[in-house]
């Protein structure tokens, strides 16, 4: 029986420059930050990041890992605009594919179902259609309606964070929203799930309602045990967002010195165990 337990550094070793990486969670909620920081510390570059964006996108932009972001928003929730992402956008150092939130879901679903696109009305009439990567398709039925053909968001890799998982790669969320983590995994070639705690399969089943078992081992290649792995984003019921830390992170976008200090202290400090020691988690 396969034991899929690996480390954040093992995930990084599976990635290559120029890859398209999907990141689960939503805004500043249940983001796989320990893996994000490992990528930020690596020599990887020119990544395309696909995310319902939060500090995952901000950290990777600020550490120079990103060529392009596919997104509908990039927010810290309690701080509406992600300051590091904003800075990268205004400096012109990254390109983007702008999307609507629902359109983004269809792109992931198309990739997960291995079709080139899914049709929708969403996007028609908006500036999204000025982007050459988003095209329309004509209904072959009697209505002959012109619809948006949302391109499949095929991912080279996906990373997500769950509350619990077992060593075989089954995963469980215990908060109120699964977000789109299963779709990110299904849309990807290489699939990695960090979890707060690795438990036995029996404990997993006993730990919550059956509907909380959103991730099954068909969807995962690697499991990373990372207590506080989503810090400073929220991961209820295990912990809420660390608002004070998030404010410190946001403030570090103000000038290069502040960012250099933040980066040295919390990102380049070392692995996740060292991060936990530095933050006091």
């Amino acid at each position: 029986m396969a034991d899929k337990r690996i480390t954040e550094e093992d995930v990084v070793a599976e990635l290559r420059d120029g890859m398209t990486v999907g990141i689960g969670g939503w805004g500043s909620r249940r983001k796989p930050m320990s893996i994000v920081r490992a990528i930020a510390r690596s020599s990887l570059k020119d990544l395309t990041i696909v995310s319902y964006g939060g500090p995952d996108v901000g950290v990777l932009c600020a550490t120079g890992k990103v060529a392009k972001v596919v997104y509908a928003f990039c927010s810290l929730d309690s701080i509406p605009l992600e300051p590091h992402f904003r800075k990268a956008r205004e400096a012109g150092s990254i390109s983007t594919l702008e999307m609507d939130e629902g359109m983004f879901l269809l792109g992931l679903q198309a990739a997960a179902w291995r079709v080139p696109f899914l049709p929708t009305r969403v996007g028609l009439g908006s500036s999204l259609m000025e982007q050459p990567e988003i095209r329309t398709v004509k209904s072959p039925y009697a209505d002959a309606e012109e619809l948006v053909a949302v391109p499949a968001l095929n991912l080279d890799a996906a990373i997500v964070h769950m509350n619990r998982g077992d060593a075989r790669g089954n995963g469980q969320y215990l908060g109120v929203d699964p977000y789109f983590d299963d779709l990110f995994l299904m849309a990807a070639e290489r699939r990695f799930m960090s979890v707060e705690k690795v438990v036995t399969t029996d404990e997993l089943i006993a730990g919550g309602p059956l509907q909380s078992l959103r991730i099954n081992r068909l969807m995962t290649d690697g499991v990373i045990e990372a207590p506080f792995g989503a810090h400073f984003t929220q991961c209820p019921p295990d912990y809420e967002r660390d608002e004070e830390f998030q404010r410190e992170y946001a403030a570090s976008a103000k000038d290069p010195d502040a960012w250099a200090a933040f980066r040295a202290k919390y990102i380049d400090c070392g692995d996740h165990a060292e991060y936990r020691r530095v933050v006091g988690l």
Binding site: W26, G53, Y71, A72, F73, C74, S75, P80, L81, F85, R86, R89, E90, G92, S95, T96, E98, M99, D100, E101, G102, M103, L105, T120, R121, V122, G123, L124, G125, S126, S127, L128, E130, D143, E145, E146, L147, V176, D177, P178, Y179, F180
Partner: protein, 251 residues
């Protein structure tokens, strides 16, 4: 009622945008929109469905800015289900706008060109989907020539001119009212360009026109925004015990 504030008129104007909606999901975004939406459900639109801002649909009227109030959960609606609601058209959302033109084309993605913005704002969020799939109203807490512009930099929410150009594909497009700190605008004109629907007491048509960067339709007789009843004021104070509405729209 002498103690009725400008913010209270804004709350009433927001509530009125949901009149007649029946059993749909009302998603007012912003402090005054949330108070107004919840007021509508507490009074004349009892069948509205409303969220707690996350994954729950709640049956009771939650006060704004107060932690720890017990939620009466009536259903589960994670983000993924929200797109089912939007795509099926059973929603009326009230969004903000950084820019809006006369036909209701809205922008809150960025200022300047999309490929290299002068100021990155929210991104497209759900604006294209909302405007093309379900009813959309707007809340502008600071009515100014910076917001109401001749031409928006980027179209996030689709206006009437662009929706009409789509033909049948635009058939679910419908913009409601644009409530601002000065008055209420709507699109009930022959070409669906913005007109003044009502003015909050103390605001003249000239004031509102001066704060708008394009020619509005200005009817000869413009009513005042209606005042809240005593019963409504009581509910408003329950929904906003800390007076947060007065911070969003000061006197």
């Amino acid at each position: 009622m002498s103690n009725v504030t400008r913010a209270d008129y804004c709350v009433i104007a927001v509530a009125e945008t949901f009149r007649g909606d029946g059993e749909i999901m009302a998603n007012p975004i912003g402090t005054i929109p949330m108070i107004g939406g919840r007021l509508a459900r507490s009074t004349f639109e009892p069948d509205l469905v409303m969220t707690d801002g996350e994954a729950m649909l709640v049956a009771n009227a939650l006060p704004v800015g107060v932690e720890g109030v017990e939620k009466v959960v009536e259903a589960w609606n994670p983000y993924r289900s929200m797109f089912d609601v939007v795509f099926s058209g059973r929603r009326h959302v009230m969004m903000g706008a950084s820019q809006m033109d006369r036909f209701g084309n809205q922008n809150f993605a960025c200022i300047g060109p999309m490929d290299k913005p002068k100021a990155q704002l929210l991104g497209f969020r759900g604006a294209p989907g909302n405007t093309i799939q379900n009813k959309t109203s707007f809340w502008i807490p600071m009515h100014s020539v910076k917001v109401f512009v001749e031409r928006v930099d980027v179209v996030t929410g689709v206006g009437y001119d662009r929706a009409k150009a789509l033909g049948a594909a635009g058939r679910f497009h419908r913009l409601g009212h644009v409530v601002t700190n000065l008055g209420v605008l709507d699109f009930e004109t022959p070409d669906n360009s913005l007109r003044i629907r009502s003015l909050h007491p103390g605001v003249s048509a000239d004031d509102l026109v001066a704060a708008t960067g394009f020619d509005l339709v200005v009817p000869d007789d413009i009513p005042d925004t209606r005042a809240p009843t005593d019963a409504e004021m009581e509910i408003i104070n329950t929904l906003d015990p800390r007076g947060l509405r007065g911070k969003e729209v000061p006197e």
